[in-house]
């Protein structure tokens, strides 16, 4: 357990990092390393790789702290986004990506059926809290909600979601596009 988020001043911490005060990075590590590693692990699906990502993230936080602009969003958000995009880039670059052309899109469908029917249910409990995103996600059809959650939290590609949901790739792409649009409408 760490300090409750409201008690930790992420912005002051980044400012201190920008001034070269390494103890601020130590404090940030004590505060968020476990949660950042959780985010990276979920996407990288490998503990060692996830630690590599968090290592790179802390170096990048240190190097780029001066570029943090509070006008663009929260400091905690900046830290999480930076880490998550490192994980996503790592996964998209290191694994053999399924290049989805029109033909492979068709080819993927029988694979999904051979693989058995993976009905993706909502595997995750919404955390307690009043974050607006959860209310908006509740308004989506469960399968579409799964698409959004698995894409964001698990770093699944369109093709992986299509495979898991046993749903045509084109449908998954359309669901995600419309779900994002609905979320934007709902959240403003």
């Amino acid at each position: 357990m760490t300090l409750p988020e409201p008690l930790f001043d992420y912005e002051a911490c980044l400012l201190a990092c920008a001034r070269g005060e390494q103890q601020a990075l130590v404090a940030l590590y004590a505060q968020e390393s476990a949660r950042l590693l959780g985010v990276a692990k979920r996407i990288a699906r490998d503990s060692a790789l996830a630690e590599d990502i968090v290592h790179d993230a802390f170096i990048k936080i240190w190097m780029r702290a001066a570029s943090f602009d509070p006008g663009r969003g929260s400091a905690r958000g900046w830290i999480f986004s930076l880490t998550r995009h490192l994980a996503l880039n790592c996964r998209r670059d290191t694994r053999l990506e399924i290049q989805v052309s029109e033909s492979s899109e068709l080819a993927l469908q029988p694979l999904a059926t051979l693989d058995g029917r993976h009905q993706m249910q909502d595997p995750l409990q919404w955390p307690d809290g009043c974050e607006r995103i959860y209310g908006c996600l509740e308004q989506l059809d469960p399968a579409r909600r799964s698409c959004i959650v698995h894409a964001y939290v698990d770093g699944y590609t369109h093709a992986e979601i299509a495979n898991k949901l046993d749903t045509p790739l084109g449908t998954v792409k359309a669901w995600i596009k419309r779900s994002l649009s609905a979320l934007r409408e709902c959240m403003g």
């Binding site: 300090l3 001043d9 070269g20 969003g73």
Partner: protein, 240 residues
């Protein structure tokens, strides 16, 4: 769904930004977008809005305790980057960072007030303050552990790295408030272990209370007082 690099229709930009933040762009599309970001404020703003919208979903990924190797590795990389290492920075430790504490104090006050109001109908007690202790090595001043207390009856000891302990020795955890006659043992600590401790047999935490880890025999000090060298030491700082 393809996104042409030069499309600048606001709705398309927003859709592209949404898919980027969601994570559904492929590697090539991600790189292309990241190259555009510094030059296209509208696209950057759309990405920022999506980051803020979806950020709470990170809470769905369960936290995972890093291995003891991770922080030392980060520290080595920082040193290799030719940045000032922590020992030379000891005089400006994070406990001396005015902005950090100013922020913590303001946030702590706000939280305390909010909690106080929330608890008003239940109990007139005001939410107790939180404490933080950074335990540093006496010689190098390198931080090794952090203690956090969200109330005065319960503390948590969190390792920042792997403490080197000889096989026939053990780390013993001690505390002493200013007005106590001597230190009291809080038990043995394994290197790298996160420890949660109730202080129910002790007076509540007080500001400036001393905490230390000493090197003792495998079963701890036999005298009930610290006998071995101090490995890490620090004092409680009241967050508010």
């Amino acid at each position: 769904m393809t996104f042409t690099p030069d499309n600048s229709d606001p709705a398309d930009l927003d859709a592209l930004a949404g898919e980027y933040v969601l994570g559904t762009l492929n590697g090539q599309q991600r790189r292309a977008l990241e190259q555009r970001l510094p030059h296209e404020p509208d696209l950057q703003a759309a990405v920022d809005r999506w980051e803020a919208r979806l950020l709470p979903l990170n809470d769905l990924a369960p936290a995972q305790q890093p291995s003891e190797r991770l922080w030392p590795r980060i520290e080595r990389s920082l040193n290799a980057l030719n940045v000032p290492a922590s020992p030379t920075q000891a005089s400006t430790g994070w406990w001396n960072l005015l902005p950090l504490w100013r922020g913590l104090t303001a946030a702590g006050l706000a939280a305390t007030l909010a909690l106080g109001v929330a608890l008003w109908s239940v109990t007139p007690a005001i939410s107790p303050p939180a404490y933080v202790v950074v335990l540093v090595a006496p010689q190098s001043q390198a931080p090794g552990w952090v203690i956090q207390a969200n109330d005065r009856e319960h503390i948590q000891l969190i390792p920042l790295g792997v403490a080197q302990v000889p096989g026939d020795k053990a780390l013993e955890f001690w505390t002493k408030a200013d007005d106590w006659a001597g230190p009291v043992s809080l038990g043995l600590v394994k290197p790298g272990q996160v420890l949660s401790l109730p202080l129910d047999r002790l007076p509540p935490l007080s500001p400036n209370q001393l905490f230390e880890l000493t090197l003792e025999g495998p079963n701890g000090s036999t005298t009930g007082k610290p006998t071995g060298p101090i490995q890490f030491i620090g004092r409680a700082v009241k967050v508010i």
